[in-house]
Subunit: 359 residues, 2 copies
């Protein structure tokens, strides 16, 4: 395994979209959303162990999740868990990790990835990333993984690539033309028809040198803010850094502006499981198309439901169709699948009416 | 308060119809099914305290519920809780209590009543029972309370009374012609139309002398079986008695055969809450016609539901219509209201698949 291979897992999200399965105190990445005995961050870490030496894997998370990370991935060195005292989007998160890695190995070749995605074909995933690392090692390019879209999802960002310019050395690698934010449905349909659009996975591959160069070109102020961490890394210093650091995404700050961006056309079965609907897609289903997590769930005249119950809990469910039924700790949520966009409102109502303890 | 007034509360039922709210270890009578802070047996006891001296109220229950009775009705003397070691239907239950009461007061005037009914108008209830006690004190009659039916319920027994024979002394008292078991729907409709049928409440009023006479006439073998308890009451003796005692209901064994049966036409708002549907009728409803017990239940697009949640539990329910949603301890039941007859099957499946711990 190449000693220069590094990985930065971004695990700072605090989303409550999967409430009550996810809670502020334990967001999605720290949950076994698939019900397979492994949380999303554990799966992510395990996947990258096949690509990078374990000691080269860094996790950037919010300060409040430090213990959760150590609990879920035992044996990590303290230096591997980078704790952000504030949320500043992805560019600072990456700049932080870059600075730490540059103190260790200036020749680092880095994968940056979210901690909360589902990958179906792990072998193919590893294969594509190794191929990408080879490319980034040899070229001053910023690579991203683009997923072949299978339907007009309006919740993802899209990447348009240059159809005509095929690299002889790597036919899956294409030059990026544009990044597009979440499109409307008609636009998404057109993207699929056009054939030169991919889903933006949010997984990046670049050498430390290339990404540092890109920062100095497009986001010099962020590079500057993190530079003091080259000599001394203390919590006070990090706190100070984040206080003055602006909030900006790597997509907006660098990827959409840089001219040396390439995309690897990927087909390893990917989901960012950002909605209950997408979670439903990737979870195993029974003959009535229910996806059930829980040892004691009995269903009658029930179909097309997403059900998650604690292990000890007995649930007898009759007459439900197209529902989300989730129990976690002291909270039960029942909601029609096609009304999941309302959950944000429910959580906000809960906060107002019942206080923070249920968030 | 008349020192001869006695009350026998029958609390031996182990029904699981309200599972999982009711459990074998805590059947319906020991549950606050209305969500008003009082269990059914507590309500029943409190009602009869207005009619009988507290020390004259006896509770006949199954041996396994002795502690539950003492917990829910603190301060009862040990002698007031008669524990049956086996289930033998109502006639032995009444014979047992009669024997115990006859050791105390041969002039007792007794009300016998189930422990798990709901009475809406308690003042009227007390008024009618006092009137009935007056009648039973002065006549060798067996009285029962008949409820003016409000709709063709097929789950109740009916009592046909003699329309033409009105007693000048008590216009609400009528001679009984027949007892009818649960009728089919068409029959129930006819009963209501005829106007001379009442719902059988299962509440009886008689003097100890009259009911003893009726036993000696119609069920002498049961009278005989309990006679040894006149001299010595020990658990072993009771155990022995119940081993040889046949199982028979007071309706079948005596009421349907005796010629001196009268019914008090009663209108105090009564329900035996024998089904979820009838529980729905008597519980308070919100503006969406949901009846909700639980401090932290939030509903959206939800109507006509019966919801019971533990106090500490937060439930956010969206998109449910005509459902039963019950959580009790470690069990959640969701079932369409019009499918409640299936619950018996669910419970049986649970027993087979998950064992007795959830019953």
């Amino acid at each position: 395994m190449n000693k220069n291979n590094f990985c930065v897992i971004m695990a700072g999200g605090i989303g409550t979209r999967f409430w009550p399965m996810s809670r502020i105190s334990r967001p999605k990445q720290f949950i076994d959303v698939l019900g397979i005995g492994e949380t999303l961050i554990q799966q992510t870490f395990r996947r990258f162990e096949k690509i990078c030496p374990r000691e080269n894997i860094f996790i950037v998370t919010n300060l409040m999740y430090r213990n959760l990370v150590h609990e879920q991935i035992p044996g990590l060195g303290e230096y591997q868990v980078l704790c952000e005292p504030a949320r500043r989007n992805t560019a600072p998160c990456i700049a932080f990790a870059n600075q730490i890695i540059s103190n260790i190995n200036p020749d680092a070749n880095i994968i940056v990835a979210p901690s909360d995605q589902v990958i179906i074909n792990e072998d193919r995933f590893v294969e594509i990333l190794n191929s990408a690392l080879n490319v980034s090692e040899q070229n001053d390019w910023l690579l991203t993984l683009g997923i072949k879209p299978t339907y007009p999802n309006t919740g993802y960002g899209y990447i348009q690539f240059n159809e005509n310019q095929v690299l002889e050395t790597n036919r899956e690698l294409r030059k990026v033309i544009t990044f597009t934010e979440k499109p409307c449905y008609e636009m998404a349909v057109k993207f699929l028809k056009d054939g030169d659009f991919l889903w933006n996975s949010g997984i990046f591959i670049w050498s430390l040198k290339s990404i540092t160069k890109a920062f100095s070109e497009h986001l010099p102020e962020i590079l500057e803010v993190f530079r003091p961490l080259s000599s001394e890394i203390t919590e006070a210093k990090i706190e100070e850094t984040y206080t003055i650091c602006p909030s900006i995404s790597i997509d907006y700050g660098i990827m959409e502006k840089a001219q040396n961006v390439y995309v690897m056309v990927s087909d390893f079965g990917w989901s960012d499981v950002g909605t209950w609907a997408s979670l439903y897609e990737v979870r195993e289903k029974d003959k009535n198309l229910n996806t059930i997590v829980g040892k004691n769930v009995m269903t009658y005249d029930t179909k097309d439901c997403i059900i998650t119950m604690p292990k000890h809990k007995l649930a007898v469910l009759q007459g439900l169709e197209d529902f989300i039924v989730i129990e976690e700790d002291d909270i039960l949520l029942i909601c029609k699948k096609d009304q999941e966009q309302q959950i944000r409102k429910f959580v906000s109502d809960v906060e107002v009416e019942k206080g923070e303890k249920f968030l």
